[in-house]
């Protein structure tokens, strides 16, 4: 059984074991099979001298209504994967199906029409809004493009603004008049305007200050739940992932090294890289095993297991033979030869509940607008 077969069989299992019980269609909303994207490197004469192997054989299946997080450090290929999944860039090879339909076979016009159902929210709200368009014009554009709410576009814009926690009177203002958090709310309203079924957020809260980030995380969670959105969160921030994701895929050098229900990934990670990533998050007491070295270049990834150059457990086999994703629990896969032989993952440091702090923080958890 190949890794992709296993992953195709996986959503039902995840549905039965995941923490969130939502009705799920058995056909995944999005499926990717062995996607590959290499960016050529050319010399001064334009000759190809190598390639950045950004995405190097990724298979994924996303169930309707689920929130999947794709996590990893810079250069792991997570943003490239996000763009491939919406066919914003063309894969070199691999298959891509949205609601069972082959996305790669669609003609440009048909693909554009299909984009109504799939939207993307970017990291930098300063770059993703046109400075010469009012908020209303920016949100109305997708309505006009897809012919939605004809004749009542204004009212629809007001509804969308209210839904993301902005006063509808702000519609006539320009992007520069808003703070970063407000702009990200506008970008979310614009993404929701075409009534998508799938939204991909590429580091949607990473550029925001902590207090504002929490507002937008709460907003996204509410929208996902109420609108029944399928959400793919691309993020390097494991804290944010913990708050939003039902399922997590961890990438390293262009490949998925571990995938499973969020609870299992955080409580019982099976891949040494996932463990190192979790241990490195600050605020857990400081005495962590620090992972040595840097991520190797995706132009020349190490042979065998790509993580073996930094792995504290590596054996000769890891240097020679690339591991495939193998089952390690219900809906939980890791690409590690040694996953069954590793010592149990150290527990996440849990701070004892602080009753005083929790009572004081309860004053802050009411619904907040921008």
């Amino acid at each position: 059984m190949s890794a992709s077969d296993r992953q195709r069989a996986e959503p039902q299992e995840a549905a039965s074991t995941g923490g969130v019980n939502r009705p799920r269609n058995t056909v995944p909303i999005l499926e990717a099979d062995d996607l590959v994207k290499h960016f050529p490197i050319r010399n001064a004469l334009g000759r190809r001298v190598g390639a950045v192997r950004a995405v190097d054989g990724v298979s994924l299946s996303v169930a309707r209504g689920e929130t999947l997080a794709i996590v990893g450090e810079s250069g792991c290929g997570k943003s490239t994967l996000g763009r491939l999944l919406l066919r914003l860039i063309e894969p070199d090879s691999g298959a891509l199906r949205f609601e069972g339909e082959d996305l790669r076979a669609l003609a440009p016009a048909a693909l554009r029409a299909r984009r109504r159902a799939m939207q993307l929210v970017f990291q930098d709200p300063f770059a993703s809004l046109d400075p010469r368009m009012t908020v209303e014009a920016a949100i109305m554009e997708p309505l006009k493009l897809h012919g939605l709410h004809r004749g009542r576009e204004r009212a629809r814009v007001a509804e969308l603004l209210a839904r993301v926690g902005l006063r509808p009177e702000l519609a006539r203002r320009w992007p520069h008049e808003f703070s970063g958090g407000q702009r990200q709310r506008i970008a979310i309203a614009r993404a929701l305007a075409s009534e998508p079924r799938l939204v991909i957020g590429d580091e949607p809260v990473s550029a925001l200050d902590v207090s504002v980030q929490a507002q937008v995380v709460n907003l996204l969670k509410g929208l996902i739940e109420e609108l029944g959105l399928t959400f793919i969160l691309i993020s390097h921030d494991l804290g944010v992932v913990r708050q939003i994701a039902d399922r997590v895929a961890v990438m390293y050098l262009g490949r998925i090294v571990e995938e499973g229900p969020a609870e299992a990934i955080f409580r019982a990670p099976r891949h040494p890289y996932t463990r190192a990533l979790l241990a490195a998050v600050p605020g857990q007491g400081g005495k962590v095993q620090v992972l040595e070295g840097d991520v190797p270049s995706p132009v020349n990834p190490p042979p065998g297991c790509r993580f073996h150059t930094r792995c504290p457990h590596a054996e000769p086999r890891c240097r020679a033979e690339a591991p495939t994703l193998g089952a390690g629990g219900p809906g939980h896969f890791a690409a590690c030869h040694l996953q069954d032989a590793l010592p149990p993952a150290p527990p996440l440091s849990e701070r004892a509940p602080d009753a005083r702090l929790e009572r004081l923080q309860a004053f802050f958890t009411r619904e907040t607008a921008a």
Partner: protein, 321 residues
């Protein structure tokens, strides 16, 4: 002896749209071999404070207050001499702080030639030693490489080598790991801790990340909209935070150990410092605010060594009510 003492520091910027009071009435000190974390979000004044200490603010800035470095007044002339020698700074983005036209070794050696009067050969030998001390593998080879040939983590190690080359009494690290991946961040922060223990340098760690503060600082100063709102030993601050802003910030930071239905979030946004709200600047966003908050609160002790600027302190009164 106190490495750095800052008393009643105020910083304003003259701008086209009026005077911006970036920092008001800030006082703190740092001891040798200790780390003081200055925490806050964008615009709280934490970076302006660092630059004022170093004497690196833009010409449109006006600085008032008293600062001493190792007991002696930190005048503009002293700042010029001390910069890179008695006090040094590392920044968030090592790529823009390093000169792309010089090798890593040359940039470390420059500090040594300038401040210690070493000749080129001796300075380069010491530079390679410094690169070894910041745990750069194959330091002699790396010393001959240019910044673009180094990874982000390696560049930040070079910055630290430059900063520590002349054994400064004070090191200011302004968001030193914000641009780095989490595994590399852990390496760099562990390295700073080790070097601080070896050299006895006092460290000011400027950060927005309370997790980093928890693991790497002995003292904490929380700033909001240009003012100190809470200061305490790190253990006391995390055990018993007193200022509503600190409490909101702690609740807003997502944690790994549990998925919470909602994160605590602080409503609204930080005020425009050209027209700050009267009284307590956090009051418009504070769920505990009362009429008295229209007056500026004193920065007063609630416990030995623990200060907070809040009319409602101690907050246990609020819970008891």
């Amino acid at each position: 002896m106190t490495a750095l003492s800052v008393e009643d520091l105020s910083i304003s910027f003259r701008t086209d749209r009026g005077l911006l009071r970036a920092v008001e009435g800030l006082s703190f000190s740092v001891q040798p071999g200790r780390t003081l974390a200055i925490v806050g979000e964008s615009g709280c004044g934490k970076s302006a404070t660092s630059l004022a200490i170093m004497g690196l603010l833009a010409p449109n800035a006006e600085v008032a207050g008293r600062m001493t470095l190792a007991g002696a007044p930190l005048t503009p002339e002293r700042q010029r001499r001390a910069r890179g020698a008695e006090m040094a700074m590392i920044f968030q983005e090592p790529m823009t702080s390093l000169n792309p036209a010089f090798t890593a070794g040359e940039q470390v050696a420059e500090a040594l030639r300038l401040h210690e009067g070493l000749d080129s050969a001796a300075a380069m030998r010491r530079a390679v030693e410094m690169l070894e001390r910041v745990r750069i593998p194959e330091a002699a080879r790396r010393a001959r490489q240019y910044p673009h040939q180094l990874s982000g983590g390696m560049r930040q190690r070079v910055m630290i080598a430059i900063a520590l080359a002349c054994r400064p009494k004070l090191l200011i690290a302004d968001e030193p790991t914000t641009a780095l991946d989490v595994t590399v961040q852990a390496q760099i922060l562990a390295l700073l801790d080790e070097l601080k223990r070896e050299t006895g340098t006092a460290v000011i760690l400027v950060t927005h990340d309370l997790g980093v503060v928890m693991d790497h600082a002995e003292e904490v100063l929380v700033m909001y909209a240009g003012r100190a709102v809470e200061a305490a030993p790190a253990a006391a601050l995390f055990a018993r935070p007193e200022h509503p802003y600190t409490i909101g910030l702690l609740g807003a930071a997502p944690r790994l150990d549990a998925r919470r239905p909602r994160l605590a979030s602080i409503a609204g946004t930080v005020p425009d410092l050209r027209a700050p709200p009267p009284g307590c600047r956090f009051a418009p966003r504070c769920p505990f605010a009362i009429a008295a908050c229209g007056r500026t609160p004193e920065f007063a002790e609630v416990a030995p060594g623990h200060r907070t600027a809040c009319h409602r302190a101690p907050l246990d009164q609020v819970l008891a009510a």
